[in-house]
């Protein structure tokens, strides 16, 4: 079942066209990887899914993105509710300059007034969800900035989980991390897909091959090819996909 579908999606930054007629279906509770060289539009596409591009002046979007069958760019859509359902993890770990606890409780407190014990539960659950609880349970009041890069990124994942989304967008979540932290996050993603739909942008083709169920290859604003990850990496239909995954450019 597809949870998100893009139909004829185009995006312009002023005069520059960053995405051209993208058609892509994202299946629920799977990991979809978006790959392609720098500037191909994969991050831009990711950011259209939770309307983060709205924040940039001069962006024009045409076409349609549906989430549970509803157009997310329809005028009556509540963007904050959309972003609550479609969480995001960024390339650079970006915890707030607050305590670990406050980082996690920030989101839930925006949307509901919760009791102290409800918040405590939620913080614990979110940190468990991001496989970070055991490492930080004794120092929840410490600054999030005191954590290592890998821990910070898992904290950001926990923060995204705290508002109970059903989709997680990840924009090159491991590109700023060391191999050991990267491995931990990849393992975590394997667990996350049991409960969440994950869409990940990655520069790293091995990563896409290792963790994703479906892969979409972007090139200069076009979606060249998308399909099951095995098929894309073993039997690409398009010559450009083959050239990219075999390392001939990128």
């Amino acid at each position: 079942m597809n949870i998100i579908s893009a139909n004829k999606l185009s995006l312009h930054y002023g005069d520059f066209q960053a995405l051209r007629d993208i058609d892509l279906d994202v299946p629920a509770r799977e990991i979809t990887a978006l790959i392609g060289p720098s500037g191909c539009g994969k991050s831009t596409f990711l950011r259209t899914l939770n309307r983060m591009n709205d924040l940039i002046p001069g962006v024009k979007i045409t076409g349609e993105i549906t989430y549970h069958g509803e157009d997310i760019y329809a005028p009556q859509v509540d963007v904050t509710a959309l972003r609550k359902s479609i969480g995001m993890v960024f390339q650079k770990p970006n915890p707030f300059p607050m305590s670990i606890y406050d980082n996690i409780s920030y989101g839930p407190k925006l949307h509901a007034s919760l009791s102290k014990s409800e918040l405590n539960d939620l913080v614990e659950r979110s940190l468990h969800g991001a496989a970070l609880w055991d490492e930080v349970k004794d120092r929840l009041k410490k600054s999030a900035l005191s954590l290592s890069g890998g821990q910070q990124q898992r904290l950001c994942i926990a923060r995204a989980l705290s508002v109970s989304p059903d989709v997680l967008l990840m924009d090159e979540p491991t590109s700023a991390l060391d191999p050991a932290s990267t491995m931990k996050i990849e393992e975590l993603m394997g667990q996350l897909k049991q409960d969440y739909t994950v869409i990940i942008v990655t520069h790293n083709m091995q990563q896409a091959a290792r963790i994703s169920d479906k892969t979409a290859f972007f090139l200069t604003g076009d979606l060249v090819e998308s399909g099951q990850t095995d098929q894309i990496f073993t039997l690409p239909r398009d010559k450009r996909t083959e050239d990219y995954i075999t390392g001939r450019f990128g």
């Binding site: 972003r83 970006n94 707030f96 300059p97 600054s143």
Partner: protein, 296 residues
């Protein structure tokens, strides 16, 4: 292998010396001023008596039976500062937020120019406008509601000071808000926060130390201002009340210095010393109070 270039070496060493010397100038200035104030300020305090000087309520410097109590000046400066903070800080901070996060670039440019102009206006002009426009206006209010026939009072001074501290609060806070990493704000938006929630729960707390610096700078100006205050405050040594003519620590010095002599003159130096300590104390307290809890 290259031999050391002697000439370059000498230039390097000389420049280092020049920079060091120039850096020392500031330190020398601070030390000299502090020493001068302490040396000249202490004798009168010793003669008048520490408590009589600080907590005396009557300042009668020229009578046959002189009395040198500066409590009215201290309280006036304190209330004046609090008043300017209460009015100026919210306006300044909101303007800074507007400029940094909300206004479209064209409007922001216009407001920015206005802020810069405000910063460039000499204090005597503030005083002048205050005297011509504000004081008569306040006088109407004072007369109408309280039957007091004077507009040159604490309230007028507070209003003038509130406007005078705006530029430093706005420009320093704005810079701090602009410097908040975009990452923090994006993370907040991505969790479903609205723009206002993001500004007040993420951007402002992250810019806290810069905003503090702006407020401290503004407050420093408010406490230290003499000229504009002199022109609108009435300059009577009353205990402070909003609609009474009052004298600030600064104006107590300026209004008498030109003709003072003997103990009176020494007492003015002592007021200077008190003002100096007062500003230091306020800076320390503000820094402590506003930055506390910053490291979450």
């Amino acid at each position: 292998m290259n031999t050391k270039n002697k000439r370059k070496d000498i230039v390097e060493k000389t420049m280092q010396g020049v920079f060091f010397t120039l850096g020392m100038v500031t330190i020398i200035a601070v030390v000299t001023i502090s020493a001068y104030l302490v040396l000249n300020g202490l004798p009168a305090i010793r003669e008048i008596g520490f408590f009589e000087f600080l907590f005396g309520q009557v300042w009668r410097s020229t009578g046959t039976d002189p009395s040198f109590g500066i409590l009215p000046f201290i309280l006036t400066s304190f209330y004046g500062m609090i008043g300017a903070i209460i009015i100026g800080v919210p306006i300044g901070l909101m303007t800074a937020i507007f400029l940094a996060k909300i206004a479209n670039p064209r409007i922001a440019a216009v407001v920015n120019t206005a802020v810069e102009l405000l910063a460039g206006i000499p204090s005597v002009v503030y005083g002048f406008v205050g005297m011509i426009v504000l004081v008569p206006f306040i006088q109407q209010i004072a007369l109408h509601f309280f039957g007091i026939p004077s507009g040159a009072n604490l309230l007028s001074a507070i209003l003038v000071l509130s406007v005078m501290i705006l530029p430093s609060i706005i420009s320093v806070s704005r810079t701090a808000l602009v410097a908040v990493p975009r990452d923090y704000e994006e993370a907040s938006f991505a969790l479903g926060a609205t723009k206002m929630e993001t500004i007040f729960k993420v951007s402002v707390p992250s810019a806290r130390s810069g905003i503090t610096a702006g407020v401290v700078l503004g407050v420093g100006r408010a406490i230290g201002e003499a000229m504009a205050v002199m022109m609108v405050a009435g300059n009577v040594s009353n205990m402070p009340e909003l609609f009474r003519p009052v004298t600030f620590l600064t104006t107590a010095i300026t209004r008498e210095l030109s003709y003072a002599s003997g103990l009176q003159r020494q007492a003015l130096f002592s007021i200077g010393l008190v003002l100096f300590c007062f500003i230091m104390l306020i800076n320390i307290i503000l820094n402590f109070a506003l930055k506390r809890g910053h490291k979450g």
